[in-house]
């Protein structure tokens, strides 16, 4: 399985990359980690006419705290996140479970986010934490709320001439915690079910903000808004988390497939939501 022919350009700046993509037209793709794109090209499910390699652009590989959020640049690899002291909560929890160790050495968070694979883990984490995607086009940058960015199955809301340069993940000033629970059949597999949870606690110990989002149980990564609503304003208890789990399970829309029955996947969503929330609360209370 070998890719079809294409043109290739290695950009040395974001501006150059954007220009090269615009010039290349519809069938041009950015190449960052390439860990989703190249396999699709080898299977000839993807046949881009041109690749714009952004790997040689300086300055896109930083993970840094900035104005109350964590900024993850376009060339930050999954492994960088897993090894970083700067990350915490659901982000830190999810990073080691992305694909496998070798894929994590090349694959990027931003690439995964832009790919919008409903079986991808990061978009659930970003939905739960309320992150923003930073997109740069010919006329400058804009910030897109993750909920608006993820449009559909493999579809994001970028314009053709835009490139994701970073993701901004809010870092709460108060007590907070997060967790990502993933059921995978083996290392390297996509999630059978994934649940990201993020909790913030008020001074009195009640939940002041909550984020719950699910992987692989809907046509796109889905926020469990009813579950989130149940949580806010209440004390974090096992009973509450079980209720939130039931609400998340109700919001899931899984399919019967080779990974398992839809009925069972809902059950796993309920269990994992409870576990993720419990882990998040424990972290926030620590």
């Amino acid at each position: 399985m070998l890719p079809a022919q294409f043109d290739y350009v290695a950009a040395s700046s974001v501006e150059e990359a954007i220009a090269a993509k615009a010039e290349g037209g519809d069938e041009t793709r950015f190449l960052a980690g390439g860990q989703s794109l190249l396999p699709m090209m080898k299977l000839r499910f993807a046949t881009p006419s041109k690749l714009v390699d952004i790997n040689r652009i300086a300055g896109l590989d930083a993970i840094e705290h900035h104005n109350g959020h964590l900024r993850v640049g376009a060339l930050v690899r999954h492994a960088d996140i897993a090894a970083s002291d700067a990350v915490s909560g659901a982000v830190a929890s999810a990073a080691p479970w992305i694909s496998d160790p070798l894929v994590r050495n090349l694959g990027t968070l931003c690439g995964s986010v832009a790919h919008c694979d409903p079986e991808g883990d990061w978009n659930s984490v970003l939905l739960a934490t309320g992150a923003d995607v930073i997109a740069q086009g010919p006329s400058g940058s804009r910030s897109i709320a993750i909920g608006d960015f993820v449009q559909d199955f493999f579809t994001n809301s970028l314009n053709d001439d835009e490139m994701v340069t970073a993701v901004h993940i809010p870092v709460p000033s108060g007590r907070s915690g997060g967790s990502y629970q993933k059921l995978e059949r083996k290392v390297g597999d996509y999630a059978t079910v994934g649940v990201a949870a993020h909790l913030e606690l008020a001074a009195d110990g009640t939940i002041s903000a909550a984020g719950v989002a699910m992987t692989s149980v809907a046509p796109i990564n889905r926020k469990a808004t009813e579950a989130e609503a149940l949580l806010v304003g209440n004390a974090p208890t096992a009973e509450l988390f079980a209720e939130a789990g039931a609400a998340a399970a109700a919001a899931a829309d899984p399919r019967d497939d080779v990974r398992g029955s839809a009925r069972w996947k809902r059950q796993v969503v309920a269990a994992f939501t409870g576990r993720a929330l419990a882990a998040a609360a424990e972290q926030a209370q620590a």
Partner: protein, 159 residues
């Protein structure tokens, strides 16, 4: 396009198609066949090489992406001083059977013990979990990497 990839300390310059996979450049271009191909989907890891010291799957990287970078393959593990500790340990601990996944496993092991001089059983298993083996059940691969780490640590201590 013309690229120069340093493979095991030697620059290889070639005019390649952009679609040429790094693994094919290594195997066919440089004639180093210790790096293998086992799947089409970035799953098995038998094509693992170190790019600037980091293990990656060379079937999922274009040769043009490696332009100007340093690649280490299994053929580059041995030095003038002899076998790399992982090579010796794989043989001593029976860490290989058919040998098809072995170059990849050894490279991942070498990169791991560079970072972690005494990896636990779990840490080794985690590190090699992007690489499949069909023969060994991993038991002796884990043992070999741990034993290589111990050997490397003791020889570093000696020097």
């Amino acid at each position: 396009m013309e690229i120069t990839v340093n493979i095991n300390g030697t620059d290889h310059t070639a005019d390649v198609e952009p679609r040429l996979l790094l693994v094919d450049h290594i195997r066919t271009g440089a004639g180093l066949t210790g790096t293998h191909i086992g799947c089409d989907t970035t799953s098995c890891g038998v094509c693992t090489v170190l790019v600037d010291g980091t293990p990656v799957k060379s079937c999922t990287m274009l040769a043009v992406q490696a332009d100007g970078r340093s690649v280490t393959t299994v053929e580059g593990l041995k030095t003038a001083d002899g076998l790399h500790p992982v090579q010796q340990a794989f043989s001593d601990e029976h860490g290989l059977q058919c040998g098809f996944c072995t170059p990849a496993m050894m490279l991942v092991g070498a990169a791991l013990i560079d970072e972690n001089p005494a990896p636990s059983d779990d840490e080794v298993r985690w590190a090699i979990s992007g690489n499949l083996c069909r023969c060994t059940g991993y038991m002796n691969i884990v043992k070999a990497i741990q034993s290589a780490a111990a050997a490397a640590a003791s020889s570093n201590g000696d020097s």
